[in-house]
Symmetry: C3
Subunit: 226 residues, 3 copies
C-alpha cells in the first residue's frame, strides 16, 4: 500500500471527509437517476455505487494507489449503499428538492474535484497534473452514471460542467503553489465549483457553443433539464 507522501494528519482527514461526502452526494445522484428509470433495488444500488466510486477509483488507478481507497475502505461501500437505500425508499422526499439529480451531482463534482486534486498533490504530482486529475475525478462519477444509462454524459451536455470542475481543482492547485492553508483552498475551490454549476442550473450561465455555418450538425440536447 502506497503511503501518502505528506503524512499530514489534517490533509489525510480532509481528503477522507471530502471523498466520503462526495461519494454520498454522487451516490444519491446515481440512485435518484436509477429510481426515475424504475430500476429494481439492486439496480439502484449498483448505479449509486458506480456513480459514487468510479471517479475515485479511476484517480487511484492513475496515480498508482492500488487497491483503490473505495475498495479497500469499507466506508465507501457503506456510504454508497446507504445513499442508494435512501433513494429507493425515500425518493419522494428527495424529489421535493428543485433539480435533485443535478444539484447532488454538483455537490459531488465540487467535493471530488477538490479531494482528487489534494490527493494527487499529496502523491507528488505537479500542480498542473493534479488539477487535471482533480477535474477527472470530479467528472468521472457523472460519466459512469450517464454511460450506464446509455446517455450522453452531463460533462458534454450540461453547461459550465468541466470548467466548474477545473476551476475548483485549479484553485486548490494554485493555493498549493502559494502555500495557502489547505482548509482555505479546499473551501474556496469547492464553493467556486458548486457555485458555477448552480449558476448554470438556476440562472442559465453558459459558454460559447460550437457552430460552423454549413457544417453537418447533430446537436446534443443541452438544456440541462434534469
Amino acid at each position: 500500500m502506497i503511503e501518502l507522501q505528506a503524512p499530514d494528519e489534517l490533509l489525510r482527514s480532509l481528503v477522507l471527509i471530502l471523498d466520503l461526502s462526495g461519494t454520498f452526494a454522487f451516490a444519491l445522484s446515481g440512485g435518484m437517476a436509477g429510481v426515475r428509470r424504475r430500476l429494481d433495488i439492486f439496480g439502484v444500488l449498483v448505479l449509486a455505487f458506480a456513480a459514487s466510486t468510479f471517479g475515485g477509483i479511476t484517480r487511484d488507478l492513475l496515480i498508482g494507489a492500488v487497491p483503490p481507497a473505495a475498495l479497500k475502505d469499507w466506508r465507501y461501500l457503506g456510504v454508497s449503499v446507504a445513499a442508494g437505500l435512501i433513494c429507493f425508499f425515500w425518493s419522494a422526499l428527495i424529489e421535493k428538492l428543485r433539480n435533485p439529480v443535478r444539484m447532488l451531482d454538483a455537490m459531488g463534482l465540487a467535493l471530488f474535484a477538490v479531494a482528487g486534486t489534494e490527493k494527487a498533490l499529496a502523491f507528488g504530482l505537479s500542480p498542473l497534473m493534479a488539477a487535471l486529475l482533480g477535474m477527472l475525478t470530479g467528472i468521472g462519477g457523472g460519466v459512469a452514471r450517464d454511460v450506464l444509462l446509455a446517455e450522453v454524459p452531463a460533462v458534454l451536455r450540461a453547461d459550465l460542467y468541466a470548467v466548474a470542475a477545473l476551476a475548483g481543482a485549479a484553485i486548490v492547485a494554485g493555493g498549493h503553489i502559494l502555500h495557502l492553508p489547505i482548509i482555505v483552498t479546499a473551501c474556496g475551490g469547492g464553493f467556486v465549483c458548486f457555485g458555477l454549476r448552480m449558476m448554470a442550473i438556476r440562472c442559465g450561465w453558459r459558454l460559447p457553443v460550437a457552430g460552423a455555418r454549413g457544417a453537418p450538425a447533430s446537436p446534443v440536447d443541452g438544456d440541462d433539464t434534469r
Copy 2:
C-alpha cells in the same frame, strides 16, 4: 509480477479453469450479440474479446495484478477468438438454444463471480472486498458488451443480475471465512448465481422496483427479453 499469496496449486488451477470457462461463455454471449447486429467478422471478434476479458482485466487492475492475466496468457485470447469464430460461422446452431445470449451471459456471470472472488482472496483482500470484486468481475463483461452496443447494461435492465453475482461471490467469501473446501464453495457459489439468473429468465423472479408517486419517470425496458 505479483505472486498469489496462497501458492496452492489447486487454487491456482481452479481460478484458471473458472476464468477460462467464464471467458468462453462471455465471449459466446458477446459474439452472438455481435452476430445479431450483423457486424463483420472482426467486429464479432472484438465484441467477443471485450465481453470476455473486460471483467477480468478490471479486476486485475484493481488488485494490482499487472499486466492482467488476459493479456499475459495467450489462452484467454485464444479462447475468446475461438468463441467468436464459433458464433460467426455456427450461429444458427447456438440460436437453437432458448435465450442463448442471456443463458451464456448467466454462465459467464457465475464463473467470473466465483473466479474473481477466489483470486481477490488469494491476493489478500478482506472477504467483504473480495466478494465485491467478485461481483464486479462478473458484471464487467456484460457491461462492456452492452455499452459497446450503446445499450443500457444488463446489470441495470435484467432482474436478479447484480444480486445473483453478489450471492455467488458471498458464498465463496463466506466459505473462505468458515474454511470450507474450495471446490465446495466454488460449486455452491456458481450454481446459486446461475440458478438465480435462470429463475429470473425462465420463471420471472424479480426484486421490488423503484417507484415514487408523482416523481418524473423514464423507465428502462426491464423485460429481460434477450
Copy 3:
C-alpha cells in the same frame, strides 16, 4: 516510474513522436465530433482530450506504466487542447476535407497502433501481446469518443477498423521478431493501417458480415458515413 527496458534514444523519441502525433489526430477527430454536436467550448476540449488520451492511458495502465504518460507529460494535454481549440475556432476549414472525422480517426488509429506496439515491446511483452495492446491502444480513442456521444463505437460500425489496427500492430511486432529497423516497421505498419482504413472509407472495402437465416437481427448501421 518504470524505465523502458530498451533505453534506446531512437526508440524513445520514435514512440514520443508517434504518441503525440496520434494524440493530435485523435484530438482533432474528437473535437470535430464535438463541434458537429454543437457542444460548448469545454465540451469540445473534453471530447478532444478523452478521444486522444484514452487509448494511451489504458495501454499504460495495462503494462504498469503509472502515472500514464498522457498525465505525466504536459505536452499531451497541450497538444489535445490545441487541437480542440483549432476545431472550435476553425472547424469550417477542417470541414473542407472529405470525411474529416474519419480520416483524422484513421491517422490516429495508425499512429497509436504503431506507438502502442513499440511501447509494449519496449516494456518486455511478447510480440503477440504487444500487437494486441497496440491494436487496443489504436482502438481506444475512437471507443472513448463514441461512447461519450452515446454511439456504437467505430470499431464495431466501420469496415476494416480493428483489422487495420491489428495489421499495423502485427507488422511492427513481426518486424521486431525479424530484427528489422524500427523506422521501417513503424512506417510500414502505419501506412498499412492507414491505407486499409482509407480503402474502406473511399473504395468500400469490407469484410464478410455475420448473418444466420432466421436468427433475430437488429443490425448496426454499418454505412461508415461520418
